[in-house]
């Protein structure tokens, strides 16, 4: 097969079997791949959602439906208030106002086509063919309207001077993000909106429009407070950039005003009194739920096998400890960005800060791996091998959750699809000065991890756990994933610092990557 050298940097050309996909430009190949991505999402939507057919509590699907019910039937000020019509113990709203507005809009849509699915009180536990279909279509449309355009924006900005075949691969990696598809279109959530807004903010950083960044990121924060996982990276990068300007105070002021104005516009109904505001805040940070729930592969949950945190400390002190740990973990990356901001360093910073939050924050869920995973997807061309492993372990950390939702087949299929697309075209990485692969025993460590994970897959599906430890297998999966995540976090932090030392002498204002 004749190979056409499409990349201009003299490295060996990737297989050009995909030239036909990318020869008409980035936007066209994006459109083609997004059609396929939407097809996969529609297909996954046919599978069960979280809490399907499990009264009385059901799951996330019922929570979202209930929020549509509440927002379409009550005035905005009552959405977060406990009352006779709004029982906060039954799936009370615990995301910021933008989620509530989005639920309102979707609720209007549902009410138009299927009123009994959002009528006050009587629609609790409502499960029907058309109800499920409409809900699934709201997620699909949110994805198509918010996540996809942001991804296009990002790709156009990031790939201004890159081989087209690699661009197509990267687009496929972003749009066929297996974790996002399984959680949003399987389990049922609306992460695509907040992640889409975040990607838009990241793209805005890369093309230098910082006011847009602030607006989009504030919107993302107002949709899901988990977007704060990325806040240190944004903050440190923008601060670093502003400090290099002629008039740093003015730049900072501009950004600050953008943030405040956006914030005020979104939170307007809740800013009339301090009480209202605090009421919403208390819903967003349910500290009474404890430092961890279920079996998530982060520091507190994993080490709780040996150190019983909940017994040794009270919740307020655990709050402070986790805050301190999180800040400490994200500090190196923040410091690096403040002193030498760069676009690429920013992307690494996103990954570092989100990993730090995932590992050390309070009340982390398995689904929160989506945040670091998104940052890794954006960096996929730079760290392809590690990205491959991260996908595997991110999916594996959600494996028990997906099994509970009867999403085993989509899990396996999306894994297969990801592997196929990943290997369709392996991008050549520039050899870094230090690679963990040269670290003695690292490859062996990875291989043993992989082997154990395969065994755990089979064991979890076939064998019943012992009576005394009913969650034994979840715990084992958690430990395995945690150990990988820790290795990964070390590697990424190291890479970010290494990056700056290579470019310390070069010009700090990087216009393009």
């Amino acid at each position: 097969m004749p190979k056409k050298n499409l990349s201009g940097d003299g490295t060996a050309a990737p297989i050009d079997a995909w030239w036909w996909l990318s020869h008409k430009g980035t936007t066209t190949s994006f459109l083609c791949i997004s059609l396929f991505a939407l097809l996969i999402r529609s297909a996954v939507s046919m599978f069960p959602y979280s809490g399907a057919g499990t009264p009385p509590k059901f799951g996330d699907f019922e929570a979202q439906r209930h929020w549509m019910e509440i927002t379409t039937n009550l005035p905005a000020t009552d959405w977060y208030r406990n009352g006779t019509q709004n029982d906060l113990t039954y799936w009370g709203l615990d995301y910021p106002p933008l989620t509530a507005y989005q639920s309102y809009i979707h609720g209007i849509l549902l009410r138009f086509f299927n009123p009994e699915s959002v009528s006050l009180f009587s629609s609790r536990g409502h499960e029907s063919y058309i109800g499920k279909l409409l809900m699934r279509w709201t997620v699909l449309s949110s994805d198509a309207l918010i996540f996809f355009p942001s991804a296009l924006f990002f790709v156009l900005v990031y790939h201004r001077n890159r081989a087209k075949s690699q661009v197509a691969w990267h687009i496929a990696m972003i749009l066929l993000n297996p974790c996002l598809i399984l959680i949003d279109h399987g389990h049922f959530q609306y992460n695509c909106i907040s992640l889409g807004l975040t990607v838009g903010a990241i793209a805005a950083v890369l093309c230098g429009s910082e006011v847009l960044t602030c607006v989009l990121f504030t919107l993302a924060l107002s949709h899901k407070q988990m977007s704060a996982y990325f806040a240190p990276a944004f903050f440190s990068h923008l601060l670093g950039k502003c400090l290099r300007r002629k008039n740093p105070i003015l730049s900072l002021l501009k950004l600050g005003i953008a943030v405040i104005v956006t914030f005020v516009i979104v939170w307007w109904p809740y800013l009339h009194s301090v009480d209202d505001f605090l009421m919403v805040l208390s819903r967003l940070a349910p500290f009474e739920r404890g430092i961890y729930e279920d079996y998530v592969a982060n520091f507190w949950c994993t080490t709780s096998i040996l150190i019983k945190w909940k017994k040794l400390f009270t919740t307020p002190s655990l709050k402070s400890i986790s805050l301190a740990a999180t800040v400490l973990a994200s500090l190196p990356s923040m410091v690096h960005q403040i002193f030498s901001p760069s676009n690429e360093g920013f992307l690494y910073g996103l990954l570092n800060s989100s990993m730090a939050f995932y590992l050390f924050s309070f009340q982390v869920h398995e689904k929160s791996i989506l945040m670091p995973f998104l940052a890794a997807t954006l960096l996929a061309l730079k760290i392809p091998d590690h990205f491959n492993h991260l996908t595997y372990y991110a999916l594996f950390s959600m494996f028990p959750l997906l099994c509970r939702d009867n999403l085993l087949l989509p899990y396996l299929t999306l894994h297969l699809l990801f592997t196929l697309i990943y290997h369709s075209q392996l991008p050549k990485t520039k050899a870094s000065s230090f690679s963990f692969t040269s670290f003695p025993g690292y490859v062996f460590l990875l291989r043993t991890h992989f082997f154990i994970s395969l065994v755990l897959h089979v064991v979890y599906l076939t064998i019943q756990p012992p009576q005394k430890y009913p969650f034994l297998f979840e715990a084992l999966i958690m430990i395995l994933c945690f150990s990988f995540f820790v290795m990964f976090a070390f590697y990424i932090n190291y890479t970010q610092w290494n990056f700056s030392s290579r470019f310390r002498s070069a010009d700090k204002e990087k216009k393009q990557i």
């Binding site: 036909w20 996909l21 297909a43 063919y129 279909l133 369709s424």
Partner: protein, 505 residues
């Protein structure tokens, strides 16, 4: 090089398999229960009762090789869940076990399609080969019919493609043998039998008296052997009459319940139109009592004004339509044109046949994919006909849940075709000085008429899916289907005429 190529074909197949796996929970038609019942019949009953059993309304009506195939599958079915193959307990069984089992058998049987494509494209250059593979293995019509609606077309078409590949290689005996095998799997493929007969006679047996006669005998005995293997046990049991009557149930009407977009749509509309006008003009025109789609006691369909159409009429018309192709095949039998002729034969069978399902459009779209990469005009023609035939399959999966899936499949297919054909026929100059940001100009352009026709498809969809239910609700429920059938029939008639012209020149 060869391993590379095989890897890529396997890659395409694996990607398609991922999509097929995700389609497992989608809508299943009654064909699902039909095949489950056949698993039960072939497993639980002795051979002598296969074509007589009427425990379920879905009686066995495919030739014996398919029955043997179901018997083979039923061995595994029993291991998975014995209730699947139970004749009485398994009726309308729809548990996860049977759904997964049957769906996965379809996915596995698609390997025959992959093998057919592999063999066909062995000597083709890479870009074309990939394009053919994409057009066949990722065919949206095949995905929708086989993996949503539920059938085994991929499996059968694989055998057909294999047969064509041997003919193209010049190995006519094996090609003929494989075609006979396909016939014994599904007799609907017999529409192309005249083409095979004429071609093989002229190309293989027309080689001097001694060799010719020897080859004729060889071919004849191979075909007879295949048929004997299939029908032998039934002839021995004296059941051949019953088998034939099951295979050719002419008690059904001229058109299927969902009108296939073929010639008879126009005939029916013309008849209705004429009847209406004549009635208005005062003539006494009898209103036919039966419908076109329902089965009657007799074999004829009720036309008010125009002459009645019998199965014999349709048979003669199909033969007449294929005749130009047969003459060409006789005059100059070229291996490279076999695919074209076979596709043409199936187009004629689709347009003029009796009780044609719209699923039968797959029989000519898949072989046409091989032809589509041969020239620019073929590519443009294929672009149109594959979109029209895929759209005509939309009414098969009518539930709202599958709506985004079928629309996205069609859009994706159109986009991939456009990109693939543009890449294949791109400007030579643009290819040589390929820069990062440059975009190449392609010779692949759709004509104005074709473009407006395709835009019209969007309009038809909007009217039938959204405007009609909104304004008219449940009244005149046949109108959207009639609209879709008629509009697609125009496209397929155009394709027939185009193919005929291409064959004659």
């Amino acid at each position: 090089m060869d391993g590379d190529r095989r890897h890529l074909l396997l890659w395409f197949f694996a990607a398609a398999t991922a999509v097929k796996l995700l389609l497992i929970p989608s809508y299943r038609s009654t064909d699902f229960e039909v095949h489950r019942n056949w698993l039960a019949i072939t497993h639980s009953l002795p051979l002598s009762e296969w074509y007589f059993d009427e425990t379920s309304q879905w009686t066995l009506d495919y030739p014996p090789f398919f029955a043997y195939f179901e018997r083979f599958l039923s061995l595994f079915a029993r291991l998975v869940d014995p209730k699947i193959v139970d004749l009485r307990l398994g009726l309308d069984y729809s548990a996860d076990s049977v759904v997964y089992f049957q769906r996965i058998t379809v996915i596995f049987s698609d390997l025959s399609l992959l093998f057919g494509v592999y063999r066909l494209t062995r000597k083709v250059e890479p870009l074309r080969r990939n394009l053919i593979c994409v057009l066949v293995v990722w065919s949206p019509g095949l995905l929708m019919v086989d993996h949503v609606h539920f059938q085994y077309n991929g499996f059968l078409l694989g055998w057909l493609l294999l047969s064509v590949s041997f003919l193209q290689d010049g190995r006519d005996l094996i090609g003929g043998f494989l075609f006979a095998v396909v016939l014994c799997f599904k007799h609907l493929f017999a529409v192309a039998a005249p083409v095979y007969f004429v071609y093989l006679l002229r190309h293989y047996c027309w080689a001097g008296l001694a060799t010719g006669l020897r080859r004729l005998v060889a071919l004849g005995s191979v075909v007879v052997a295949v048929f004997a293997a299939a029908f032998g046990p039934f002839i021995y049991n004296g059941q051949i009459q019953q088998v034939i009557s099951r295979m050719f149930p002419f008690g059904r009407g001229l058109c299927h319940a969902y009108w296939a977009p073929n010639f008879w749509v126009f005939y029916i509309i013309l008849d209705k139109g004429l009847a209406f006008t004549l009635r208005k003009l005062g003539f006494d025109v009898q209103v036919p009592s039966a419908s076109f789609t329902g089965g009657l006691v007799g074999d004829s369909s009720p036309f008010a004004v125009l002459p009645q159409i019998t199965p014999l009429t349709t048979f003669v018309m199909v033969l007449l339509a294929i005749t130009p192709c047969l003459i060409k095949a006789w005059k100059k039998p070229q291996p490279g044109l076999v695919a074209r002729w076979i596709a043409y034969a199936y187009t004629c069978g689709f347009l003029f046949g009796w009780h044609v399902h719209e699923k039968a459009s797959l029989h000519f779209t898949i072989p046409l994919a091989i032809v589509a990469v041969q020239s620019l005009e073929d590519a443009k023609h294929y672009f149109l006909v594959s979109i029209v035939s895929c759209y005509s399959l939309f009414p098969l999966s009518y539930e709202p849940r599958e709506y985004p899936i079928k629309v996205l499949l069609l859009l994706l297919h159109s986009m991939v075709m456009w990109l693939g054909f543009s890449a294949q026929y791109t400007d030579e100059k643009g290819l040589k000085e390929k820069k990062e940001g440059g975009e190449s100009k392609s010779k692949f352009e759709i004509g104005c008429v074709e473009k407006s026709y395709l835009m019209g498809l969007v309009l038809v969809e909007v009217v039938s899916q959204f405007l009609h239910p909104y304004f008219l609700g449940d009244r005149y429920a046949f109108m959207p289907l009639m609209l879709i059938s008629t509009y697609c029939a125009v496209g397929i008639m155009y394709s027939w005429i185009w193919q005929l012209r291409k064959i004659l020149t």
